[in-house]
Amino acid sequence: MCETCGCGEPEHDHDHDHEHGHTHDHNHEHPHAHGLAESGRKIILQKDILQANNLMAERNRGYFEARDIFALNLVSAPGSGKTTILERTVMEKAVKLPLFVIEGDQQGDRDSERIRQAGAPSHQINTGMGCHLDAAMVNTILKPAGLKDHSILFIENVGNLVCPSLFDLGERKRVLITSVTEGEDKPVKYPHMFRSSHLCLINKTDLLPYVDFDIAKFKEYARAINPDLEFIELSAKTGAGIQHWYDWLNKGGSF
């Protein structure tokens, strides 16, 4: 069935079992009785639809590398504790390099204000109806943000476990923040986000006595989706485990 007009053509099999980078001629002619003649010449492209974002992300990446800025994309569901973790990171001053924050939210600058109150420069991107940050939004704010060489930039994405997974911002590492109040089967339900992240912070460990969260099971689910994913368990509220996060940052994103 034609996807757009629903005409009653017998279903043609579009199941392709092929490797990346392989070019095929998909010249299927299907006669349609819906009055729009297909004519003109065929131009074969095989282009990634997100190439505009990916190219901009590479520009951002190049900018960060040239200035020795360790850029991180922080992703999570709303309310997992991204901003609280950043506030504590800024206030405790255990991270050696200067810290900068870019905040992404649909509206308002409450998160940005919290970071400024904690003691670090922060710039806000408002996406309006948008549900994720993209590389172009980050690129426009880089110069006004007044970043320093040899620093750490936290880009706190819009709270959303779905859409941000597709949009490379040019970060060196993607950090997924989850919390023990969210259910240990999150990786199964949001595989794309878990697959695209490098480090997973398991926050709110102070609440473990009050919730049914099996940390071992959570890690097992997550590693099935992404065998290279690493974990730090911590509580932004009590400070338990947060030294591991600082150590990881001080080592430029490794253990």
């Binding site: 579009h14 392709h16 639809i49 859409c163 794309h192 989706i225």
Partner: protein
């Protein structure tokens, strides 16, 4: 929803390529969406239909090709269809499976003049 972002990116890309080829009207567009790409094909069609108004593609027919996932077993090199990120090799039962196809999101071709 992010399918609208993808649709807008697609429209821009199609218009850019059509103009490069000296064309002013696009008649059809072929798009490949991997079943493991994180994109819902129905939502994408809906978004493209909205986004293509007042563009070079306003009358274009969109052909959406769903691409099945393929995995390669790291243990025995067997290649087999997959429909989830967590897969087991049907030959040797290993969980060390690498995704080799199925997360595509490509503009395959267009017809224009």
């Amino acid at each position: 929803m992010h399918e609208l972002s993808i649709a807008l990116n697609l429209i821009e890309l199609v218009e850019e390529e059509a103009r490069k080829a000296g064309c002013l009207k696009v008649f059809s567009v072929d798009v490949a969406v991997g079943l493991l790409s994180g994109i819902d094909p129905e939502a994408l069609i809906f978004s493209i239909t909205l986004a293509k108004e007042n563009s070079l593609l306003s009358d274009a027919v969109i052909h959406l090709h769903r691409i099945e996932g393929s995995g390669r077993c790291r243990s025995c090199n067997n290649i087999f269809p997959v429909n989830a990120f967590h897969s087991t090799c049907p030959e040797c039962k290993s969980n060390a499976v690498e995704l080799i196809a199925g997360d595509d999101l490509k503009l395959i071709s267009l017809e224009a003049e």
